[in-house]
């Protein structure tokens, strides 16, 4: 009973912190968990490398001993070189992203994925010591990935754009087009697709159109790629289109990402309503 009540209290404290605020409990747990996640990430890399070596060994078993040895060496070298080239390309793309935009960004490595099957968060190896803050956007050269939800000194947790609670203001086509709406994930769509809502049925939307951020959500800067339209269920004058988008970032194979050190411009307060003459008389 004591254990159940303790769990319940911990859960209630964690749930109490509203979205967009730093969760104290989560920061502490992540501070202690991030070294383990970092170590496990490295171990996974080493294990898969080991199995790849075995695979290479098996595939060349039919050849004679000398050639086999030489082939293994060559393949290992080639594999390392290819890996380095791919990594180099990815990092170069991130660097290009840095040069392209005025917003500063920090490159980060994905050190863990959610161990439970119920959520799709990722953990990156950059935290408050690198200047990362809650709600900062996370991107890849392909498009937006999600936003930071928890920051500990050396790691941060990122909620992917495919999560039901992770919305973003978006527009189909170029900025300035009338096809405005909001994108968000849906549990039944997984990480492969996201849904775009509230686009007027009178706007022309076609499969293959690009979707960009508008910056109206107060998280993502305008003009970032979200993805490409893969399916449209046309709406009417009174009904919005139902649009499905394939995210530009490869969310199931993320390795390196960039955190944009972006602070949205403060929203202007609504003008005060004029006091009624009756009230002023009083």
């Amino acid at each position: 009973m004591t254990l159940l009540v303790t769990n319940l209290i911990v859960m209630a404290v964690d749930a109490r912190d509203a979205d967009g605020r730093q969760k104290v409990l989560r920061v502490w747990t992540q501070t202690f968990a991030s070294p383990l996640q970092n170590a496990s990430s490295k171990a996974t890399g080493a294990t898969s490398g080991f199995f790849q070596q075995i695979w290479h060994f098996r595939s060349t078993a039919a050849e004679n001993e000398q050639l086999k040895q030489r082939l293994i060496e060559m393949e290992t070298e080639l594999h390392t070189a290819r890996g380095a080239a791919v990594e180099n390309e990815r990092l170069r793309a991130l660097l290009h992203l840095n040069e392209q935009s005025d917003i500063k960004n920090i490159p980060a490595r994905v050190i863990a994925r959610d161990p439970s099957v119920w959520f799709n968060t990722i953990t990156i190896n950059r935290g408050s010591s690198s200047g990362v803050e809650v709600n900062m956007p996370v991107v890849t050269p392909g498009g937006i990935v999600g936003r930071v939800i928890t920051v500990s000194p050396w790691a941060s947790q990122v909620m992917l754009i495919t999560d039901e609670k992770a919305g973003a203001g978006a527009v189909v086509g170029q900025l300035g087009s009338g096809a405005l709406g909001s994108v968000r994930g849906r549990a039944d769509l997984g990480v492969a697709l996201i849904e775009m809502r509230y686009v007027s049925g009178l706007e022309k939307v076609e499969v293959g159109d690009y979707v960009m951020t508008t910056g109206q959500d107060g998280i993502y800067p305008p003009g970032l790629n979200v993805g490409r339209v893969v399916e449209v269920k046309n709406g009417t004058a009174t009904q919005a289109h139902q649009i499905y988008i394939q995210p530009g970032a490869q969310l199931d194979r993320l390795e390196e990402v960039a955190v944009l050190l972006y602070h949205p411009p403060p929203r202007s307060l609504p003008e005060q309503t004029p006091t009624s003459p009756e009230k002023s008389r009083r």
Partner: protein, 180 residues
């Protein structure tokens, strides 16, 4: 089962839970910590089962995007329910463990999802589909794992227990003979 052994097995199960998702995503449907919890609860070790349930749940919660404490709550309650059933019904038969594992997986998922929905954090994946995959994966792997433990560890420990009882009986009898 000694406490050190439990700690080692639990740590291994948590590390497996962390690593296997990185290797291949469908492997994350196997709930290794839950299998450990079920095994200990079936041994009718109430406190150990409840503690292991809480610790396993909280550690996984700490690294996941869900609410901290939801996994701890669900695993603790699951451990208690299995312990309660094991003290009243004979669940020693290996075949009976299949429905026990399935029920544990289903109960654990249902409680976890229930608390997240109640507190406004709906899971990011389809609930029924994920529950079904988790049930199948955990039951299949859990049945094999428990069978292996039975075939290797449990038999020896049962033998050791038998020898210890015999030794105690022998000592008592020799002691009484000496007194005479």
């Amino acid at each position: 089962m000694s406490q050190l052994k439990i700690a080692v097995v639990l740590s291994v199960s948590i590390v497996l839970q962390l690593l296997l998702r990185e290797v291949w995503r469908p492997l994350s449907f196997i709930d290794f910590p839950l299998i450990v919890v079920v095994y200990i609860a079936l041994q009718r070790e109430a406190w150990q089962a409840l503690l292991v349930g809480t610790i396993a749940g909280l550690v996984v919660d700490a690294m996941s995007g869900g609410l901290i404490g939801a996994g701890g709550f669900s695993k603790t309650l699951t451990a208690y329910v299995i312990y309660f059933a094991a003290t009243r019904i004979n669940l020693e038969n290996p075949l009976l463990r299949i429905p026990v594992l399935a029920a544990a997986s289903l109960l654990d998922s249902a409680i976890y999802v229930f608390w997240h929905r109640v507190l406004g954090y709906p899971p990011a994946v389809p609930t029924v589909q994920t529950m079904s995959y988790r049930l199948i994966a955990t039951t299949v792997v859990g049945t094999l794992a428990l069978y292996l433990i039975d075939a290797t560890v449990a038999e020896r420990s049962a033998q050791r227990r038998q020898f210890a009882t015999r030794r105690r009986v022998a000592r008592r009898s020799t002691g009484s003979l000496r007194r005479r």
